[in-house]
Subunit: 218 residues, 2 copies
């Protein structure tokens, strides 16, 4: 039998340190942007000396890249919920709910992503051009088919997707503004549920899907 590793074995300690650093980095990059964040801040937040951070991640950029790649993975997971079902009502509902939940649970990741796009995606441009572009085009095709089949109103599919992205991510990226307009307090679970239902309701009605009824209006 292999000797049991102590909880602080070499590999476990390395994994734990990398996790601590990445967690701290996501928070600091989200709040201050790539340029605004300092490796010293990140190291402090992770509870290790700066030199040690540079032992695990040689450059600030390599650390940032890792953070962004992790975020893109979360985004892709949510994207898959779009294909849960071929019914537009179910697909749109579950996709919007998944994206809203991400904004609630991973607000910092969304902020890092927003920062990256605002600054012209110096790190993730290749993802945008490949994975994201392919995902978008194929889902546009699905929406166009739903429209042809009369299962939803003839709206521009691209604009519909952008509306969903914009609105759901707004709850993460503009969270500070939302809190300020909510008497300085975070949205309660009830308020957030109301927001989710309202967004789903407006989008579905907006594309002519009326739950309870069937098919699309004019």
């Amino acid at each position: 039998m292999k000797p049991l590793q102590k909880p602080t074995s070499r590999t476990a300690a390395r994994a734990e340190n990398e996790r601590l650093i990445l967690e701290a980095a996501e928070a600091v990059f989200a709040e201050h942007g790539f340029k605004g964040a300092t490796t010293g801040q990140i190291a402090d937040r992770a509870g290790i000396p700066k030199a040690n951070l540079h032992y695990y991640f040689p450059t600030k950029e390599s650390l940032y890249r890792q953070v962004v790649e992790n975020i893109f993975q979360i985004w892709l997971d949510a994207a898959n919920t779009f294909d849960d079902c071929d019914d537009p009502e179910v697909a749109l509902t579950s996709y919007i709910n998944a994206k809203m939940d991400i904004s609630r649970r991973h607000p910092m990741g969304s902020k890092v992503w927003a920062n990256e796009i605002l600054h012209k995606a110096p790190v993730i441009q290749d993802y945008l051009e490949t994975t994201l572009d392919e995902w978008t085009e194929s889902r546009i095709a699905v929406i166009e088919r739903w429209i042809r089949e009369g299962r939803m109103a003839p709206v521009d599919p691209r604009t519909l997707l952008y509306m969903i992205w914009a609105t759901t991510q707004h709850y993460a990226d503009f969270n500070h503004q939302i809190e300020t307009l909510n008497a300085g307090k975070p949205l309660s679970d009830e308020q957030f549920e109301t927001a989710k239902k309202t967004v789903v309701g407006i989008i579905l009605a907006g594309v002519g899907i009326h739950p309870g009824g069937k098919g699309a209006g004019a």
Copy 2:
């Protein structure tokens, strides 16, 4: 008769220089954020030495503050179109169109704003708490009245406003992503018109307003 000022009189030159600097600053702050922007970059873009920039704007922060205040003024101008008419269809349509047009014509301003909120509004927090909060609350009251009067479906007014903000500003803030997903090219005027019409259409239908018909659906 007052002596005609030469085109480069003292006051005119000052005004022109301040304009050049503010224009350059908006662009550089939009692309690199507050921390990422350097006063040297801004001065270069304005075509003046860095020391001269600091003659007009003593600190980087005072320059940034001025840029943000100008942007907020544009935002307020658009906000007024909400009150053009007491009819929800007209009000929502003209407000969405105004905000879409701002995203098209002032994308950099919107990006600076987004950056500011993303970083917890260190400079404009007071605007959020006063002017923005008052505007929002009063428009929520208007929407609630429209709902009571049966002129639109009973949706959460706050969420509706956030959807409009998020979607319209998305066309500025995420312009880079939108271009990338448009074969790397900026949206044509036709494409942008389609986007505007689609957003207006989805929102109006989403809140139960059907142009041509009258009043709200269930």
